[in-house]
Each structure stands twice: as C-alpha cells, then as structure tokens.
C-alpha cells in the first residue's frame, strides 16, 4: 500500500482520527507521518470551530445527539435560514434569526459564554431602551457607593434620576 499523502513511499503508519464522531483513517509513510506530527504539534486544527458549534446547536435545537440529522422545519421569516441550516453550519443567517430561534439560542449562548445577557457597550444612536437600562445599572452602582460613604444627598439625587429613567423605560 502506498502512502496516502505522497503516493510514492510505502505506507507503514496507520493513523485513525476521530473528530466530532467522524472517523478518518490515513495510511502514511514514516516521512509523511513525521511531517504531519510536527505540523500538528499542539496547534493544528484538531476540531473545526464551526463544525463543533454546529453539533452543539443541533443538540439544543432538536434535542438530537451530535451528528444525527436535525429534523426541524422552523425557518427564519426574514432570511429563510432554517434551524437545520444553523445546526449544520454553526452560523446564523441574519439578525432576525436571533429573535426567531430565540428560545433555543439562549442555552447555546449560555453554554458558550457562561452568560446570555449583554452588559457591554450599547450603540448611541440606535441603542434605545438598552442605553437607558445601561445608564440605570451604572447609576445603581454609584448609588450603592454613595450610601456606603453616607453621602445621602448624592444618594437621594441618584435615586431620583434612577426613578426618572425607570419611568422612561415603561
């Protein structure tokens, strides 16, 4: 048997890799095996990120085990992406997918990031209510600080400002 990689020298090393439940077998000559080993030392792409994610999403969307085909027919009304496609590629089709597949997206995000609530930057012009919520969060921290320092006048004005903003949210 000839080496799968160089097709010149006889294969003496038989390598079996299982990535995401997919078995791959390679028959290599010692030279190619050594080269591949050197290449993959520590940093070769052991698992393709999107494939890995796809498996995870598939599980959450359909309850299926990794690499069993998803059978959902739910489709994003905006871009036409189906849950099955997301589960296959690990990619959402458009911003609306996040809304349409919302229930299933949350646990995926939680699993990836350990959280599903954004606490960072909010766009200034289009941030809308999120901008106000962020301001309230910031003021609440300041309020706690003012109370702990017994700066009651400052605390009172912060409390009033928070109330005002909370009313805007409703």
């Amino acid at each position: 048997m000839l080496c799968d990689r160089c097709q010149k020298r006889p294969a003496q090393v038989h390598l079996t890799q299982i990535v995401n439940n997919i078995k791959k077998q390679m028959n290599l000559c010692p030279t190619c095996a050594a080269e591949l080993q050197a290449e993959s030392f520590g940093f070769a792409p052991q698992v393709n990120l999107h494939e890995f994610l796809a498996g995870l999403i598939n599980h959450h969307f359909t309850g299926a085990h990794l690499h069993q085909p998803a059978v959902s027919t739910v489709r994003c009304e905006k871009c036409g992406t189906t849950e099955t496609q997301v589960a296959k590629t690990g990619l959402f089709g458009c911003a609306d997918c996040y809304k349409q597949f919302g229930g299933q997206v949350q646990p995926v995000l939680k699993r990836i990031h350990g959280s599903n609530t954004h606490t960072g930057k909010v766009p200034k012009r289009t941030g809308g209510k999120a901008l106000i919520s962020k301001e309230i969060r910031k003021l609440k921290i300041e309020l706690q600080d003012a109370v702990s320092r017994e700066e009651f006048e400052r605390a009172a004005s912060l409390r009033d400002r928070i109330k005002e903003l909370e009313q805007q949210l409703q």
Partner: protein, 354 residues
C-alpha cells in the same frame, strides 16, 4: 500612503518594537464584529447586497466627523488587489485569510499607518481592527471604540438589548470584541513551562494560537493569546483581564530568560550566535527555519548577547520572508526552493552590516 504602498512595504507600525513591554509583547490587537440590520450576514449575501454593504461602509468612512476623529481611511475592494497583494495583507496581519475567499464580495479599509483596518463582508459585515506595537490593549480598545462610534453614527447596527451586538457566529455575540496579544515566549518554551501555562490560560477563558490565527502553529515561539468569551462581560473587563494575564506571562517569561541565561550561559550564547551565523551566511532558508532562527536572534538581542540589532528589524524580517512578500519583492511567482534561496539572500543583505 495608499493601500498599494502598504502591500509594497515590509514595515508596519506594529512591528517597530517601540511599545511597552516590547521585549516580550510584540503587538496588541482589538477587533470588533459588527453587522448591519436588515441585511443577511455575509455568508448569505448575493453580489448585489454585498455591494450595498461595501457602498454603505464607503459612505460612512467618508463622513467628515470620522475623518476628524480617526483620520483618512481608504477602502479597496479585494478585486482591486492582485492575489499576491491580498496575501501580503494577511502576512502583515491586517486581514484574515477568510477575506481572501470570494474576493468579489469583499473589501478592506485601511488607515495609512496600518493601525486601523476594517474587513468588509468577512464572517460579519464589519470587522473593525486596531493593531499597535507592544502591550497597548487599552489604547487599541479606545481607538476601535472611536471608529465604532463614528461608523454607528451613520450605519444601523444589528443590536439586541438582551444579547448585544448580533454576529453570524454565536461565539462573537455580545460585545463582538476579541482582544489579543502576540507574545514571544522562547524561554518558557525552552524550559518546557509553556504547556502548563497554556493549560492555565484555557482555564481563564483565554485561547492560544499560532502566529497566523486559528489553526496555525506556534512557529518562532510566537503565541497569540485572546479572550474566548464575548458576552456577559463589559469591553473594559475583557481588556483588563487580558492585560493582567499578559503582565503575568511577561514577568514569567522574563524570569525564565534570566534563570536560563544564568544557568546555561554558554548554551544560550552558543544558540544565539549559531542562529546569527546561519542567518548571516546560509544560502537557503525555509520559512520555518527562518522563524526559529530569527526567534533565537531576537532572544539574543533582548538578553544583550548580540548588541546593536534593532528588534523591529527582526520582526520585519519575519514578515518580509513570508512566501507572498518574497514573491512581491522579487516581482514574480517563485517555487518553494527558489523562495528558500531568495529568503536567505534577503536576510543576509539585511543583517550584513551587523
């Protein structure tokens, strides 16, 4: 300087070894992933919609306020660049290899000093990047934030109150922020501390990659450390966390260098001088050999063993001797063997006066 000049010059500001902690931290980078509302994400974009996104970005960067805050930005469609020129932008870390696929739908925006770059229609509609030498993550974030504010003033971003900036891949959702540092860690590799360190980093929610990003090897003892989590933390928390970890790595690497040099002075000096000798006199040099030897030489420069060589020159040689750059300098496509000869020649020329 235009984008065409950028791909002709091996110099980049981030290479000039002038930043803080630059004996170990080569560069810092912050990237923000942003998408436009009401437009499918890039992998679903037809030509017409891809054009619309490029046009929207072109309009946004022409805005007077952005020009005043950030400076002049130039947009190039990928099709306006030759394949070699595109590859050079990858070798200079200004764009990712993914921007090379389907070039007819993609564009790049650059500021002439190469500190700010924006990839258009990569995995997300916009990937805003800021790249500075040394440990300057906060400065990168401040600048990227400014570019983002400027663009948001004109473009309607896809944003959700619950989960933040929406991205094609759920691993980027939230802040869309990926902060990274490129570190030169030869002593930790030599003393075999590196594997333990890498395991620890992954426990802290950080990822380690080779020089050219996802899936590449850590050749030349260069490692890229970046945050994994983008949701649930603020941008400042992500950046601060990476700065703290980087400072730890810097002090560990410095300690390892000193201990190594103290305990094995002759072995280290021998290794450095051998590297210098090979770089100065070899007649063929593979890309990998060059990376390893230049790493040894850089260590020698940082330890004061080889005086007078500017550390920035060594980094510049690493970039210059990548395959596409060599082709560009030579003005023709070469096979790997021809490149090995030309690489050795270039390195010899540059190190000749030292």
């Amino acid at each position: 300087m235009s984008i065409k000049d950028t791909v002709s010059s091996s110099y980049s500001k981030w290479l000039d070894a002038s930043g803080p902690e630059s004996d170990i931290v080569i560069s810092s980078r912050v990237r923000l992933a942003r998408n436009l509302v009401d437009t499918p994400f890039p992998h679903l974009l037809g030509h017409e919609n891809a054009d619309k996104v490029i046009y929207a970005v072109q309009t946004a960067i022409g805005n007077e306020k952005i020009k005043a805050d950030i400076g002049e930005l130039e947009l190039s469609r990928m099709t306006e660049l030759t394949p070699t020129e595109r590859q050079i932008l990858v070798e200079k870390h200004l764009i990712s290899p993914d921007l090379l696929e389907h070039p007819e739908k993609k564009a790049v925006v650059l500021r002439n000093d190469e500190v700010v770059s924006i990839m258009v229609n990569e995995e997300d509609h916009l990937r805003i990047q800021c790249l500075l030498p040394g440990l300057q993550l906060k400065e990168c974030w401040d600048l990227a934030n400014k570019v983002d504010d400027g663009l948001e003033h004109i473009l309607d971003y896809a944003f959700s109150e619950q989960v933040g900036y929406l991205t094609a891949c759920p691993t980027n959702v939230g802040t869309g922020l990926r902060a990274s540092v490129m570190l030169h860690l030869p002593a930790m590799v030599m003393t075999q501390q590196i594997n333990g360190v890498l395991t620890t980093l992954s426990k802290l929610g950080l990822t380690v990659r080779g020089l050219y990003g996802e899936g590449t090897q850590a050749s030349g003892n260069l490692f890229q450390v970046s945050n994994q989590v983008t949701l649930g933390l603020t941008e400042e928390e992500i950046v601060d966390n990476l700065i703290m970890v980087t400072m730890q790595l810097v002090s560990q690497e410095r300690a390892a260098r000193l201990a190594l040099y103290k305990e094995q002075q002759y072995q280290i000096e021998d290794r450095v001088w051998r590297a210098f000798g090979l770089l100065k006199y070899a007649r063929t040099m593979t890309s990998n050999d060059a990376m390893g030897l230049l790493s040894d030489l850089r260590l020698g420069v940082d330890l004061g063993i080889v005086p007078n060589i500017p550390p920035g020159l060594i980094m510049e040689l690493i970039i210059m001797t990548r395959p596409a750059f060599l082709n560009k300098l030579k003005g023709k496509e070469m096979n790997p063997y021809q490149r090995d000869i030309y690489r050795a020649e270039l390195i010899r020329q540059r190190l000749n006066s030292f």
